[in-house]
Subunit: 145 residues, 2 copies
Amino acid sequence: MPTTEQEVNMKRLATMIRGISVAMLTSQAADGALRSRPMASPDAEFDGTLWFFTQAGTEKAIEIGQHPQVNVSYVSAAEHRYVSFSGRATLVDDRAKMQELWAPAHRTWFPQGLDDPDLRLIRVDIERAEYWDMLSAAMAQLFGP
Amino acid sequence: MPTTEQEVNMKRLATMIRGISVAMLTSQAADGALRSRPMASPDAEFDGTLWFFTQAGTEKAIEIGQHPQVNVSYVSAAEHRYVSFSGRATLVDDRAKMQELWAPAHRTWFPQGLDDPDLRLIRVDIERAEYWDMLSAAMAQLFGP
């Protein structure tokens, strides 16, 4: 059973994003532009950290190296649910974590799968989260300053 | 008939976002965090500028005053379509444009409607646009550096 407010909020956020298989990751380019792109969201229970597969040397990998602050949004238009996560992204080469998060669907984007030496994870440590549940007219900041 | 590549790209983007009634607007907070929130997207044909209703003094109005670079993303999970717009946002008090863009549905968020003296528009001049159409495996940068 969750015992602290933060644990309750984590559970709620986990519920809000469950089943949304693609998130939009926004980062800042070297010229200051904010760019976003769809990212397959591994099917892991949210615990305060979000994970995405990428490859070393991609534009987003370079951008987060220069500007770690990112936004990750989850949209379910059908259910009128919108979630915004603000956090710090880091590129990590953690083979054990990759194995844990890997699913056959990721092969669409990474045909070599776990054997790809350039495969990396983007780890986003969440500092602030907000959600809008328009059907219930609920809106809340679940954690953050 | 569209005559230039840019006009063709505008038409394609207009088609990609048509029917998506809520976009996510990402801006940068004073502490550097990137925050996003759902915005009702007025039913206007895309021509290189995006418009959203807001109110003077809201957090997002203040954020774009300090950091005009924003991202606007349109997601249609059902159709596997994802669009990213990068641009510069400005807060404008243009009553004629408000009248043009207003629809009764906006009253959910702005109960006073066009009579609200604090009603404003966020005008986003698009500098870069990219889309992912996952069903057709198409992905393109339609304009920008």
